[in-house]
Symmetry: C2
Subunit: 352 residues, 2 copies
């Protein structure tokens, strides 16, 4: 592919935008060989001075001015009415218009999801989109979804998430037949609420041609026991934030340990010549920043609202990987399998 991949960026989304967006873009572009173009949607008066400091970003970007922005407190229901013409709205619309391959925003999650649903629409067969996160593990990344879009989920929705997540993982991680697990608690008989148990039954009986491995627990996410872990948005969001908090705590402890005494500093210096930097990078939750909205006619990547430059760069990297993958085709194949399954299940019910 010689034509550049184009990322449509909400330059005003996030607590410290547009600064972190331009900084992130600079980090993202550094050393990149393949051509990438950025559409920066937002207030030109605030973006242009930042581009003066980062000529390499200016060279790869086109600023699309708008004075409107969605603030972090806008409710999703208001967003759709009030956000037309905002930087977030325009960033997503560029994907619908075929001007960009993927949209990225660090703005308000609820508003971004509402806007994305209105502009891009859900794929046929999808009832609610999900947000997928990529979690580091010993063998690579685990895909976890939903991590926040849907607080209450039906069993059928969890099955849809499995279908979406499996296609996402295959496209992005180049795994031919990803394994899928359903998040649950471990105790016998206490196992799961009814929704999780029903979803398990559905996944077993659905003949989805998917490598469904049954229940997994919280620690399986980091262990990478299955490639994809499916859960509702409440549990997924809590698990994701808990993991981030733990990583941050341990990172802080490591820093303390390495600055405690002269000996510790000398040790840390020797380590820094080798693998300490890599370790720090691996332990930085910012390096897994970027939830991907699945189930829409187009790809939208959500960065943390509190993103820094480096973590926004990670979100841009994820967006590029998505743009460069055959994810939308994979999703379509999976969804056609799902609808065939749903018909079969409905027939079974009728004849029963």
């Amino acid at each position: 592919m010689n034509s550049p991949l184009i990322l449509s960026v909400d330059a005003m989304g996030g607590d410290a935008a547009p600064e972190i967006v331009v900084e992130g873009a600079a980090g993202f572009l550094k050393g990149r060989r393949r051509p990438v173009r950025l559409l920066l949607h937002g207030d030109a008066e605030r973006i242009e001075p930042l581009l003066d400091k980062h000529p390499e970003v200016r060279a790869a970007s086109e600023v699309r001015h708008t004075a409107e922005e969605v603030d972090m407190t806008t409710r999703p229901s208001e967003a759709v009415r009030r956000a037309r013409g905002s930087s977030m709205w325009n960033a997503v619309h560029a994907v619908k218009d075929g001007e960009a391959h993927v949209a990225v925003s660090a703005g308000n999650t609820g508003a971004l999801m509402a806007i994305s649903k209105v502009i891009l629409r859900m794929k046929p067969g999808v009832h609610r989109p999900a947000i997928a996160a990529s979690w580091p593990g010993p063998k690579g990344f685990t895909t976890v979804l939903d991590v926040g879009a849907n607080v209450d989920c039906t069993p059928a929705q969890l099955v849809e998430f499995a279908v979406l997540g499996e296609a996402f993982h295959r496209a992005l991680r180049d795994v031919k037949r990803p394994t899928v697990g359903l998040l649950n608690v471990g105790q016998e008989e206490l196992k799961g609420d009814q929704v999780v148990r029903d979803a398990d039954t559905l996944l077993r009986e659905a003949e989805l041609d998917m490598d469904y491995q049954g229940f997994v627990e919280g620690d399986d996410i980091s262990l990478g026991t299955t490639d994809v872990v499916v859960t509702d948005g409440f549990t997924g969001n809590v698990a994701l934030k808990t993991a981030e908090g733990t990583a941050r705590l341990l990172g802080g402890w490591m820093k303390e340990a390495f600055t405690g005494s002269v000996l510790a500093k000398a040790g840390a210096f020797l380590l820094s010549l080798s693998s300490l930097r890599q370790l720090r990078e691996r332990m930085d939750p910012g390096n897994v920043n970027g939830g991907v909205f699945l189930g829409l006619n187009g790809v939208v990547v959500k960065s943390h609202g509190g993103a820094t430059g480096p973590s926004f760069a990670t979100a841009l990297r994820i967006a590029l990987e998505m743009a460069d993958s055959d994810f939308l085709t994979e999703i379509e194949q999976n969804l056609s399998r799902l609808s065939a399954t749903e018909e079969r299940m409905a027939e079974k019910k009728e004849t029963a």
Copy 2:
């Protein structure tokens, strides 16, 4: 207090019992000055040879023989009928009989909870007991509950957990007025399911004389934003296991980083002379092993089923702290406040 504190131990509970139990006891007793006695319930033929290797454990222990044990696959409903006379049953019964201050088991959680409820009974005003875990943070420990006893919870039950957890934290952590948060997800309007929102309303209106601070998120657990974090058993269990998995993954990475090259090894050697060991200990999830059952007429500590000697020692340490605290008095004071509140709320409803 000069009379020894007495811990009643299910010596047969856990994947690698009774070995890890005796090893754990040895680690626990090492260097301890205050007198502690252990009642070891289980198969004397298997326990005695282990005590030969650990005379210091034998000196502090009394073996209470029983050939019966509860295996890890026993369902809670079966446990109560089939577990009478088992090591787990006897360990809990010794607390009821006033022979011990607290019971400890690494056996099947569901069975242990069912047995504990039958033998010890719930405190007046408590509808369902909860399991509390202690989570390390920058300023000390955060109490999180429920972490697995109750998969589905009503708003009123979450309020009870807040009451139990607050008393637990005050007694164990010596904090006069612990702050309490309710676990939720962050997005506006997506915020929480109805149960969490209703529990929030109850906690605000209940006039419980509790420092309730509203919603917290997953990362607040490690940050120690509030002393106590309240959630249902499904979410709490997933969060706990996710945090453990993350800590284990990062610990593994640290080990890799320290053994990668000669330089790294030299660095690690210098660090090991200072603070590395302490760091490793802090990062070891085994060091937070031990969930405490709250809401019963007596204290039961649940160790992980997969506990090793050192992590079982941690569970024993937690049990000793509980035995040595005025936790049961604190709980009673809190519960009387709760029932006064419930009466007040009921009156409000009637007059409304």
